[in-house]
């Protein structure tokens, strides 16, 4: 039974809408905006979103102060004519400081003001450097011979040019070998781990579906790896894979699976295999429970009928169990694929993306760009690229599955 919703009921879903809006939609839109700018948190000229040229008032004041201060120190070493010239420059600088004293932020100013500041910058640079570079002072060591050009360069940067780059980040992304290599690593990790989790999980589900004594205990055991934090299990495995003290690496080495104990985490292939094994260990029981739920809704009468018809266990499995489980298999695979695709905790702790970026996934790459290099713009482009991949994967599953996964049961 379905009723029409009235305003009274709408109130009930407002909190959910607000949450999705603030903590999902807003960040997605903002990330997309970041990706259109050369936005970097660690650089004053890129630390915002400037569609047009802007003027950084506080930096201007600061730089002018330094110019005058440097000039004060070096004036003593000059002859009288130059001293007068430098004093004139200083007066001009002070006049400009006063004129623009009320602009304390990075903001838009009129074109004529922009031109005035640019001309002022060029003018004082010429006049100051004419004195500093003059042959007269070849033997004189000015205190600020090196600081002066630097502060003048800095003064130029008070005119903030637009950091809107349009689709440039995406064009660079398409040409970025590291991005495509990471897409490869992510897909490899996803496909291999989900494949094994599915096969092993299905076996486990089929066994758990039989009424054997002690099955409850087995189920409980299986829940523990799934329920502990991935970060903690990653640390556990990191210890067991250790090149010197790791018991799993030691056993694999003794079995002849790897050349040396260190090759588990110290080679790209070994590290990828390590991560996949750790993921299979953690997630197979979860997969089994998802599939078990699908198994249990199959009408047991069908099995009896098949048994009467003389169908063997294998035949029954392929003709009845598997086709009837298809919807839950697809849902489980979809959940797990998208979950694996965004893998972060496990790999960042186990390998840090190494060795030699050999296990770097898209999540790790974007996280490095955004938080280690403060390069929000490009990092966000990587994230959006990842988003597109996820959308494609989801789309393929939906096609295979039919739109049915999200349809209403009650409608």
């Amino acid at each position: 039974m379905v009723k029409r919703m009235t305003l009274k009921q709408f109130v009930f879903i407002i909190p959910l809408l607000v949450f999705i809006g603030v903590f999902s939609f807003y960040p997605i839109i903002t990330s997309f905006m970041y990706s259109l700018f050369d936005y970097r948190n660690n650089d004053q000229s890129y630390n915002g979103f400037f569609i047009s040229e802007q003027f950084n008032g506080s930096l201007f004041q600061e730089d002018c102060k330094y110019v005058n201060y440097f000039l004060d120190a070096d004036k003593m070493l000059m002859d009288e004519a130059d001293q007068a010239e430098i004093s004139a420059v200083q007066e001009d600088v002070t006049a400009m400081m006063e004129k623009y004293a009320d602009i304390t932020d990075t903001e838009k100013i009129s074109d004529s003001q922009m031109t005035e500041i640019k001309e002022f910058n060029r003018d004082i640079r010429e006049r100051i450097m004419a004195v500093y570079d003059s042959d007269k002072y070849a033997g004189v060591e000015f205190y600020n011979a090196e600081n002066m050009p630097a502060i003048l360069d800095n003064l130029d940067s008070t005119i903030v040019t637009s950091n809107f780059v349009g689709l440039t980040n995406y064009i660079n992304l398409a040409k970025d070998g590291r991005f495509w290599a990471d897409v490869g690593h992510t897909l490899l990790f996803t496909v291999v781990s989900v494949f094994f989790e599915f096969i092993l999980g299905l076996c486990l589900a089929l066994i758990m579906n039989q009424s054997i004594r002690g099955i409850g205990a087995i189920r409980t055991m299986g829940l523990i790896p799934w329920a502990i934090p991935t970060a903690v299990s990653a640390m556990m495995w990191k210890y067991m894979y250790d090149g010197d003290f790791g018991v799993v690496a030691h056993i694999f080495n003794k079995l002849g699976l790897i050349d040396t104990q260190a090759s588990m985490l110290m080679t790209p292939d070994g590290a990828m295999a390590s991560a996949i094994i750790a993921d299979i260990w953690k997630t197979t029981p979860y997969m089994a429970l998802l599939l078990l739920a699908g198994l249990q809704v199959i009408d047991s009468g069908l099995y009896e009928a098949a048994s009467i018809d003389g169908s063997g266990k294998v035949g029954t499995f392929f003709r009845i169990t598997l086709p009837l489980m298809k919807p839950s298999i697809m849902v489980a695979l979809l959940f797990r694929t998208l979950d694996s695709f965004r893998v972060f905790d496990l790999l960042t702790i186990l390998t840090g993306g190494g060795p030699g970026n050999g296990t770097e996934t898209l999540s790790i790459y974007s996280n490095k760009l955004i938080f280690s290099q403060s390069n929000y713009g490009y990092g966000s482009a990587v994230v959006i690229g990842m988003f597109v991949c996820v959308a494609i994967i989801a789309f393929i599953y939906m096609k295979v599955l039919g739109a049915d996964v999200i349809s209403d049961k009650t409608a």
């Binding site: 903590f23 999902s24 790896p225 299990s233």
Partner: protein, 276 residues
């Protein structure tokens, strides 16, 4: 009694192997946590029992490394998240399960979509937002946890609410119950197992969350359990004894939750996955 076939034996071997592989890492972690550094790095690396069992590692982890504080942080954050997510999700799930409205299918698609897209897309803007609001290193982190846990909570509850007979609600309405009262007095008690299952899963995913916690609460005194344990390896030498002790320690709460609530967890996972 039926004679065991080869197939049954294969199943048995599979189960035994599965149990061994599942349990072995925990066993090994516990074994290592009672070894001294000399044992771990020396001849006794692979010994099953330490010649000199010690609880030094546990003492170091509890008193010097602030793991207890991290457990406290995680408990508070996970509990707060569970409370508000369960309330919000149950209200929405009730409406979505029971009422027809424009954009309902769209809302379901969005909820499903939100649970699937990469969380990395949220982290830059949310970090900037928290930085500007001065919310870094605070319990405010529970708010963005909602975007991770809400969708699956709504999903699980929807499944359970649909199983509540609509006639009960009709009767309640006849008796003059408001929607609030209907939800609290009629639906809640009947759907309680489902709500409880979803609450347990919410708690577990909040307890396990790593990315947001790493980014937003990076101060040692605010770190959650996963972040604190992972950060133990960033020091110059890796003290495996301490790390394994910490891992063993934080597995205990999870173990308790799993043992107490396994039925609810299994039903929660199942209702997330079944498509009838």
């Amino acid at each position: 009694m039926k004679k065991k076939t080869a197939f049954d034996w294969a199943c048995l071997v599979f189960i035994i192997l599965f149990l061994f592989i599942t349990v072995f890492p925990f066993l090994w972690i516990v074994i290592t946590s009672f070894k001294t550094d000399a044992d771990i790095h020396g001849a006794a690396t692979y010994a099953l029992l330490s010649a000199h069992p010690t609880i030094e590692n546990y003492i170091a982890v509890i008193f010097d490394k602030g793991v207890l504080n991290a457990i406290k942080n995680s408990l508070i954050i996970a509990a707060l998240t569970t409370v508000y997510v369960t309330i919000t999700a149950s209200m929405s799930a009730y409406i979505i399960a029971r009422f027809r409205f424009k954009g309902r299918t769209l809302l379901v698609v969005i909820i499903l979509g939100v649970s699937m897209f990469p969380q990395m897309i949220l982290i830059g803007p949310i970090f900037n937002m928290f930085y500007q609001l001065g919310w870094l290193n605070s319990y405010m982190i529970t708010l963005p946890y909602g975007c991770i846990t809400l969708p699956s909570a709504v999903w699980i509850m929807m499944t359970h609410f649909r199983q509540v007979p609509a006639s009960l609600e009709e009767a309640a309405k006849m008796d003059g119950c408001s929607p609030w009262k209907t939800l609290w007095k009629i639906i809640f008690p009947i759907a309680a197992p489902g709500i409880f299952a979803s609450a347990i899963l919410t708690f577990i995913s909040a307890w396990n969350e790593y990315l947001l916690s790493l980014t937003l609460n990076s101060d040692v005194s605010w770190m959650s359990v996963p972040v604190r344990i992972a950060s133990l390896q960033n020091e110059y030498t890796i003290y495996w004894g301490q790390i394994t002790a910490a891992a063993a320690l934080v597995t205990i709460p999870t173990l308790i939750i799993v043992l107490l609530f396994q039925k609810q967890i299994v039903s929660g996972i199942a209702s997330g996955g079944v498509k009838e």
